[in-house]
Subunit: 223 residues, 2 copies
């Protein structure tokens, strides 16, 4: 990059960080856990959110912000589950930024527990943008291959939690979940690792337990 | 984006376009078909190149430029097939740029037919960067879902050819290849569409036929 490009990028990330800090304060003061979901296109972010909507129903309230370059498709899928959802279309941009979340924040109902933000499908650029979340989860689906963490390190380094998705396809694939998890952990020791099949429901209870624990931690920290 | 960001981006793309035009002239003058492969992470670009190496062996000569954020893994896989390969690691950047290709171009053997460039796994950013190729192919793997073209339109709009990969997994997935192809064609009429299983070899002959035809077209245009 040229010096001019580097300066513009630094400006952009600095401003984003400030806006994100404001969003984090606002969410915490409302007792809402913000969760940023980050992955390649088609790793199963929306399907996981549909499954979480079923599992949390009647126990916890959730809302979803959907990020995509084009279309309302994902927000429509979430709304069919009876969950409030806002679609942000970036019109070409490869990631969500904190200011985009800020614009929607006033519309989010006060009485929710979880605000899930589904980022634009991209394992690279979204990793550099704090959205004011308290928890960042990176998804890696089994068909993508167990060699991805070292090839896209920033996404794994910046995450709190790794969710290996599409576990139901593993019998048909050359994918070793232990290898994928070990490689991710070598980049980010302490990463919480889950393996799920959102379609079949396997492993989702453990993930829900982790999310609920993080919510309780946030609220006890606030009290 | 701010005005300053837009100006930097315009500068960058303008410069990239000029460098790419030089590469295209150079490749055409040598009678080499440049092919830029673009897709999400884990859509099967490297596996497809391994299969093409087997199919082209003894009939055509190929070389490969591999783009990744980190690791030499993909170039090592290609070299095991006896094909010369150069790894470009972008160290964080989400796409290849023409100047990166320009740096490697002098090392490419004169007597090859195809130069395949495997871009960084990212269905967004690489679409905006001309690398001096004569053919751009976008890959979409069946596990990613048939709803992707409208969500990532620029990748499909900028491509000459769509390769639906991992066809062997379709029996286990909610994926309709006709729907994916129709949506891509609504964005880019005239797109050439192929469906392959690089692991099983299905559909690869048709793709090879297409590549050979493009090579012959380039050479007859030059003559």
């Amino acid at each position: 990059m040229t010096r001019k490009e580097v300066l513009v990028l630094e400006d952009l990330l600095g401003t984003n960080k400030q806006v994100a800090a404001g969003i984090r304060r606002e969410l915490r003061s409302r007792g809402i856990l913000g969760v940023n979901l980050l992955s390649s296109p088609g790793s199963g972010k929306t399907t996981l959110l549909e499954t979480l909507a079923d599992r949390l129903e009647g126990r916890y309230r959730m809302a979803v912000i959907e990020g995509d370059i084009e279309t309302e498709r994902d927000a429509e899928r979430i709304r069919k589950k009876g969950v409030p959802a806002w679609q942000i279309t970036t019109g070409g941009a490869c990631h969500l930024e904190a200011r985009m979340i800020g614009k929607v924040l006033g519309d989010i109902p006060a009485a929710i527990d979880f605000l899930f933000i589904e980022n634009v499908g991209n394992l690279v650029c979204p990793a550099s943008y704090d959205l004011g979340e308290d928890l960042r989860c990176v998804l890696l689906s089994s068909p993508e291959g167990d060699d991805k963490p070292a090839k896209y390190p920033q996404a794994f380094l910046s995450a709190d939690c790794l969710i290996l998705t599409k576990a139901d396809l593993i019998p048909h694939l050359p994918f070793d979940p232990a290898k994928a998890a070990a490689e991710a952990l070598s980049i980010k020791p302490g990463l919480s690792v889950f393996m799920v099949s959102a379609l079949r429901g396997d492993g989702v209870d453990a993930l829900v337990g982790y999310l609920v624990e993080a919510l309780e931690g946030l609220r006890s920290g606030r009290a």
